[in-house]
């Protein structure tokens, strides 16, 4: 179809209109981009940012425990309660953060050798088999996996059975922080393995050969070349494991003990008691922590590894 210089003046009105529209879109790319992004952007703004704003605002209100209504007066009372040493909330936040850090560290230590083997040593078939094994748990329900661990960790569960076989005494693991740590480390491990794998896979063989060529043995190469180059992947993975642990409340509920309350459990309880403002205020704590965490992660180059 030939469109000459006079095309915009000639032809049927419909054809002219179409030429004008396509010409307009061609000249102003941003209109096209806006049209594409409008629906997801609208949903994002209303549902996500809107909900977050409501959360932050309501954190500065209070609930009247007698009337179960929300009093819309600005106050820091919720935060005073959270940071009061006579209250359990600081301790709960510390337990949550502590277990999140422990889970992240455990997953990093477990994922690195596995990802290294998958990325650099395994043949194509072994690699696929390992990928399936890493990803398989993600295709099963989270609840099912936590309940499976509940039976394994129980007093007459398989872990104690194995310990007895090895001649070791029973361990009362279920309903302790140990159980929460073990189960969360297991549940979030794939989220660490995948970014670390991606980072390791991108290191060219010649870097490792160059390091060896310059006299470095395996451990030196690991420390000076492989780990620094895999660090963005480790940090990217830690964002997942840390954030997911920080926000969890089901695992502490199912396998944790009396001292295994997470921030999420408290938030859940207060929502149940219709004290939305306190729940909102406590929920902003992990949000702030994650904000700081993400800033550090960005400085370590984690977002280039995604």
């Amino acid at each position: 179809m030939a469109v000459d210089a006079g095309a915009l003046e000639a032809g049927s009105p419909l054809r002219r209109a179409r030429l004008h529209v396509s010409g307009f879109l061609w000249r102003r790319r941003w209109v096209k981009a806006l049209a594409l992004l409008m629906p997801p952007l609208a949903v994002f703004l209303i549902v996500y940012i809107g909900a977050l704003a409501a959360l932050v605002v309501s954190a500065f209100w209070t609930a009247n425990s007698f009337t179960a209504t929300i009093e819309h007066t600005w106050t820091l009372a919720n935060y005073r309660l959270i940071f009061s040493t006579s209250q359990p909330y600081l301790h709960i936040a510390a337990v949550t953060l502590g277990i999140a850090a422990a889970v992240t560290l455990t997953d990093a230590v477990l994922a690195f050798p596995l990802a290294f083997f998958m990325a650099r040593l395994a043949g194509p078939r072994t690699r696929v088999a390992l990928f399936v094994m890493v990803l398989l748990p993600l295709w099963a329900s989270y609840l099912v996996r936590v309940y499976a661990w509940q039976t394994m960790l129980a007093h007459d569960g398989s872990i104690n059975w194995w310990l007895n076989k090895l001649g070791l005494p029973d361990q009362g693991l279920l309903y302790t922080n140990w159980a929460v740590w073990i189960v969360l480390s297991y549940v979030w491990l794939p989220f660490m393995v995948l970014p670390v794998y991606a980072a390791l896979e991108r290191i060219p063989d010649s870097y490792l050969e160059a390091s060896a060529d310059l006299g470095a043995r395996g451990f030196k190469t690991l420390r000076s070349v492989i780990l620094p180059l895999a660090l963005p992947g480790l940090v990217a993975g830690s964002i997942f494991t840390f954030a997911l642990t920080l926000g969890d409340y089901i695992t502490p509920l199912l396998v944790g003990g009396t001292d295994s309350q997470f921030i999420g459990n408290v938030v859940y309880d207060f929502v149940g008691q219709a004290d939305i403002p306190f729940a909102a205020a406590f929920a902003t704590i992990p949000m702030l922590v994650m904000g700081v965490y993400l800033l550090i992660a960005r400085r370590l180059g984690a977002f280039e590894a995604l």
Binding site: P204, S206, Y207, E209, A210, S211, A212, D213, L214, G215, A216, R217, K220, S224, V225, P228, L229
Partner: protein, 345 residues
Amino acid sequence: MTTLAPSTPEAEQVAGVPAVRLSGIRRVYGDVVAVAGIDLDIGAGEFFTLLGPSGSGKTTTLRVIAGFERPDAGRVELQGVDVTRVAPAQRAVNTVFQDYALFPHMTVAQNVEYGLRVKGLSRRDRRARAEAMLEKVRLPGLGDRKPVQLSGGQRQRVALARAIVNGPPVLLLDEPLGALDLKLRQEMQIFLKALQRDLGITFVYVTHDQEEALTMSDRLAVFNEGRIEQVGSSAEVYERPLTEFVAGFVGVSNVLERDGRSITIRPEKILMSDESAGAGEPGTVQEVVYLGMVTRYMVDLDAGGRLVVVRQNLETSSQEALSEHGKRVRLSWRPEHTYEIKEGM
């Protein structure tokens, strides 16, 4: 084509213990024989080139010397010591990689210092030696940059500095100029040759570029299908190719069958005259390519065979040269400029 003089006269004779000795090296990948039994002595202080097309086994041979590949059979000796079972980290060689393999998370100075750091040199010694080396490769003051901030040619020289700062008796170079443009490549060829003469160490250089090989090498080995076809000085390999493959790969394949023998003549050694000249083999000009400095003719001989003839454009203009298409000519050459080559290679 320029051939720079050998760096040391004694390099020619491979005096004393060779810097590198390969005996019966064989490397197989599945069904593919990459290196099919290679014996090679490289003398101390030589600029030695492994020349061949891709897949001819030259890079694999270099990687066997470095220790990145383990040979399926054969021995690798460095300075007379068997290192076949020694890890790359403990071999007294350093390598300049084709992709440079500079560590991206380290600065230029940290890259150059890496080998010295591994050896446990003090920080101050490392600094001083790295700086001196960066000066030597003409990159002074760039130590604080990251590799991504450098051009290809600069990265190449950092890779060079990182390898030679360790003072290896043998430097291995795997197509180090492959990624550079022509002008930079020619500059670097002269620079590398001068550097090698200056350091007095052995360079083992892999390239598929025959001109580069002839320009730089004291001696070279021509590889084909995992074997070495010929080892010799640039002049020997160019003027007296032993096989048809060498004749074709190093220069232009000018092979004639005469009296049951295969002979080869270099295109610039052939005199082309008018048919009336009376002497020489008669033939017809099939193709003329005007190349500026020279003109290349393809001549089909009446007695069979085709020869490429190169003539300097001393007095001929391009029109005159191109008008010789289809002309009847006679080709003559001196018998001492022909060489018999091996059959059935």
